[in-house]
Subunit: 404 residues, 2 copies
């Protein structure tokens, strides 16, 4: 960016909701997204939930002229769904998978299978680190069983950004964070990394009220989900941060408002977020945060740590009960084996059970043993990761309190 | 490090082989390691295979005086086994888990359960990034089924170091890489990151011949493993790199030679590696690599990509055969269900099978279905990750060839 006084960067972010066989009018919408992107000529496009590689390839072919550089991030069983299109060269990419991402047995909540991750691309026009990502979905706000997992993801994301961002002049993050602006995860992410919310900082805003990205006006949105929030909710964000001696200003932020411009259907069940940023080189490096900010941050980290602790205790309980179940199933199997051996050795004159029930019971016990062992292994990993995150947060708190 | 012309840093690295119930004379050896560390007064201690948190806690208590700062990295089912002790404050830690790490069904090769990862700690005496890690073990050199996984790990590690190291002045890596010095993974890691091998750079060396760390003189080493290498092999490394305007020189490198100094047993089945580094601030930043180095690097990346491609095709075959097995089991189950329904509806006059065999067959089919589906899901993830790594390597090659 040397020698250029100001760089104007236009960014497009959208959760595309492009699930094969499940998302309504998927192909039509992907076509529509491609057409719009080609017409509008953004600098950087961050897309999520592009689950089908075919859709990505179609977009790539269509956008080859105006966005010659792109990357699709592969992970998990289904994929990460993340991709990036760019007008400027992508020099390097990296995929960071969160250590916790829901439960494999919650098939109806497919998060585990998606391998939720953050895709990082470096070097879109000189040192610019851009991230496209999606965090674990919130299925029930009142009783949010996935809150600890989402907090672990937010923490890992924040740590990842802290550690990787030094190589860049500007960090740009776009994605579906599945958190409301006032949620502890968002405060943790922004507080711990210094990322700023384009909606809050924008000099000019145009779009849905309060910047909402899941709105009742969108015909694909499940209206029952939005009952407690009649105006909609804001869960898709563009966040940014200037490193070293740069400043970034958000000149304009826009969201789509239901139907795509000039069309009868929306791009997706989420609204697209579009930002225009001004990046400028400054003389002196940006100063450190103030003591008051550190105190607020310490409160946020404490709050997040408490929630992770709640999740840790729940995971410990599940680990214990699955372990107990596995031991019981094993005992039953051993008992049956002893009985069978006894009969074979001619100790008992008669077999106590009919053969069929005996076999059925053995298979049932075996099934329970396998399942419970699998669960035990899984929850052990969950406990380790939650524990590790709690440790890291404690270390961060200590550092905040010692060097206020 | 400002204001100090030279920093002398003494590092200790050891794969401790401290597996509860399995490793011979574990407690005695952990005590011995603790005593030696307390006496020798290193600056930084990087340990691997400390699988028991109790052992870590014992070491922590014992070393609190001379190494007041430490961290244990939790991951996987059993743990990562990684920990760091330091004379200087640890400001921040981060755990990066490799996306591939063996197969959960290879119980005898426990790698999957360990959650192999790299533990990163920042700020041991000003900006110093230190990493403790272990890569996937090699169980058979001739027919090394885990080579693609180890290469993916080496690549991810290299990418991770490239992206995180900008925040540091010096990067230090110690660990059991499970690769010989001439292996493609080591060449990839060093070539792609610029890390240098302390053994190759040391001005003074003292220890086992060729710097070997698995030697026949060690009474805990499995001698059959070392039959093709009568002198031993070198798989534990200390690597380093200076960022920005620093230089690092390795003054001295030592390894233990079987029994610990003045004792009758070794610390572990691996030899410890000890390095003395000199870190100095220089006037001008270190220059970029030359064109020739880039050409060599391109060859290494191509070689690694070929191996990853071989792994990819093997994973695709396994995904296909497990998927086919699952479909066959499902068909058998459906057939049985149809037969059972037919019998219930009175279509057939007699049941074609005895009840017991019928039930046994159904349970067998169900078991195969569950197992094969699990395998299919696992190998699908493996394919995605290998494919993603191949993509990244292709992008790296393009960058190397375009900007030689």
């Amino acid at each position: 960016m040397e020698g250029e006084p100001t760089l104007r960067l236009r960014i497009f972010d959208l959760n595309c909701w492009a699930i094969r066989y499940l998302s309504k009018r998927r192909q039509e919408r992907v076509r529509l997204i491609g057409d719009t992107l080609r017409r509008e000529d953004f600098d950087l496009v961050l897309l999520q939930e592009v689950w089908s590689e075919q859709d990505y390839s179609d977009l790539k072919v269509k956008l080859a002229g105006c966005y010659p550089f792109s990357h699709y991030f592969r992970s998990g069983v289904i994929g990460s769904g993340l991709c990036i299109f760019s007008r400027f060269p992508i020099l390097d990419t990296l995929l960071y998978q969160y250590s916790l991402n829901g439960y494999p047995y919650m098939l109806q909540h497919g998060d585990w299978f998606c391998g939720k991750s953050v895709g990082v691309s470096m070097g879109v026009r000189a040192p610019l680190l851009s991230l496209s990502l999606q965090l674990h979905a919130e299925y029930c706000r009142e009783k949010d069983a996935y809150l600890p997992h989402r907090l672990v993801q937010a923490w890992e994301l924040a740590q990842f950004i802290r550690h990787t961002s030094k190589a860049a002049d500007v960090v740009l993050l776009g994605g579906d964070l599945n958190m409301h602006p006032e949620d502890v995860g968002i405060r943790l992410l922004c507080g711990w990394t210094g990322l700023r919310d384009a909606f809050a900082e924008a000099m000019h805003f145009e779009g849905c009220k309060n910047g909402c990205t899941l709105v009742p006006d969108n015909c694909f949105t499940d209206s029952s989900e939005l009952l407690p929030f009649p105006l909609g909710i804001r869960i898709d964000y563009i966040l940014y941060k200037a490193i070293s001696s740069f400043t970034v200003k958000c000149e304009e932020l826009k969201t789509t408002m239901g139907p795509a411009p000039g069309m009868d259907i929306p791009f997706s069940d989420h609204e697209a977020v579009m930002a225009t940023l001004h990046i400028q080189r400054q003389g002196q490096p940006v100063g450190a945060t103030s003591g008051t900010a550190d105190l607020v941050l310490a409160d946020v980290v404490t709050e997040a740590r408490t929630e992770v602790g709640v999740g840790l205790r729940a995971a410990q309980r599940q680990r214990y009960s699955s372990g107990r179940m596995a031991v019981l199933a094993l005992l039953l199997l051993l008992l049956q084996a002893a009985a069978a051996l006894g009969t074979l050795a001619g100790l008992g004159t008669e077999q106590p059970f009919p053969k069929l029930s005996f076999c059925l019971l053995a298979f049932l016990a075996l099934g329970v043993l396998v399942l419970a062992t699998g669960l035990h292994v899984f929850h052990t990993m969950e406990v380790k990761m939650l524990h590790g995150t709690e440790d890291q947060m404690r270390m961060a708190l200590r550092a905040l309190q010692e060097h206020p």
